[in-house]
Subunit: 264 residues, 2 copies
Amino acid sequence: MESKTGKVPIWRLTEESSQHLEDVVVREFPLTIILNNQEVVTLLCSPKDLEYLAIGFLVSEGLISHKDEIKKLTVDEPRGEVQVATEDDKVLANRLGARRFIASGGGRGATAYSTTEVTNQTKIESRIKISTGEVFALMDEFIQRSEVFRATGGVHSAALCDTRGILVFNEDIGRHNAIDKIFGECFLKDIATDERVVITSGRISSEILLKVAKRNIPILISKSAPTDVGVSLASDLGMTLLGFVRGKRINVYANDWRIAHHGK
Amino acid sequence: MESKTGKVPIWRLTEESSQHLEDVVVREFPLTIILNNQEVVTLLCSPKDLEYLAIGFLVSEGLISHKDEIKKLTVDEPRGEVQVATEDDKVLANRLGARRFIASGGGRGATAYSTTEVTNQTKIESRIKISTGEVFALMDEFIQRSEVFRATGGVHSAALCDTRGILVFNEDIGRHNAIDKIFGECFLKDIATDERVVITSGRISSEILLKVAKRNIPILISKSAPTDVGVSLASDLGMTLLGFVRGKRINVYANDWRIAHHGK
């Protein structure tokens, strides 16, 4: 497996000094996902856990629903391809091509939601609760795990957790990719996502919110800001949304009843 | 013109306290760009300067090359549309639909580069130089101008500068959009981009690098990290690339001969 980072020579300047040294930069890698011999998409990603990314993407897009459907899964890293064959050999690639919806800075075209997707989305009913202390502990563990970010400043992290700790963690140059890698791993390893918590380093726009809602996640925690539509979707879909979780502070944007806090 | 931000009620928690208050969040707005009655793309963006975004996008995609081509430009904000009609009424929309290339976390599908684009890209020949003091002063001014970022933490900024100051500035939830708004404004107002400097708050991936190279910009400055491909493209295309410009420190990743520094 290729490395997520590479080294480049840099010239580091301050007002008073200059130094020639080596710096670590994050790598970008074009991955083409092929479903039943049809090209679905090419993603720019970090070259690691490509099978998780491919499956997570196909699941997020609704192109695969059950693990049993997958007949064959081949990672051809030299060619930058993941090939997936499904049981009924259905041809689905055009669904994506037809939707030329390009998302915000952190977003990706094909994953942006349509109104139908929102109205079809079931409300999240989980009665799980989380305390502020648990949120701070999860964020501490999350930041500890974000190694590539610390080395390069150029990636996003995502994690699936329960209230006690991180279960699945990944990093990728794309914030959508990082979440798809998490969900892809869960899907392939039969790790349930209901009653669980997702943490992301990235901004919560509508398309991220909906991607997480589709996995029936009751609590979403971000180090960053939500958008207005992210907040209203969380509110409507019954998801507890926490943003700007940094340095022992939390902003709760929606469905605060899942937070156990003595000051309530 | 609609506002770039909205207000939402939040519940702010620390370990010891809790407060109900109003917080400012960045808005997201779906904008559909229509060229000669054909839908080209729908972008999630900040609802401001939509005509700059539409034109900048079409210019970056190579769908418009000269201002004279534009016969009509209509912003229909209630419908979330910008309609552009060109002189020869050419039908170009399918070019984008055919390229289902989805970029990294901060990227956008249709703007990712193809190998042909890179080999067709002319090397940047400008002999302009910039001093470290000028870089620090530009970054200070850039941060001063980033108002929506300060209010919401949820946007990217971009600016076209000369070595003495900012000429054109914009903010958007998308880092590609922020740069397209800059270039769209330059295009419509006949502001030359040659011999100029671009500053961005966002990560420098290959697609951002190439977008800026297409406008023949010799110096690109980022507050954030570049990717490995961003660095090698900058090097090959003759662009001076500065990253992590923060707190009076600069990393120079490519073509350092344009930097005037006493320590050289």
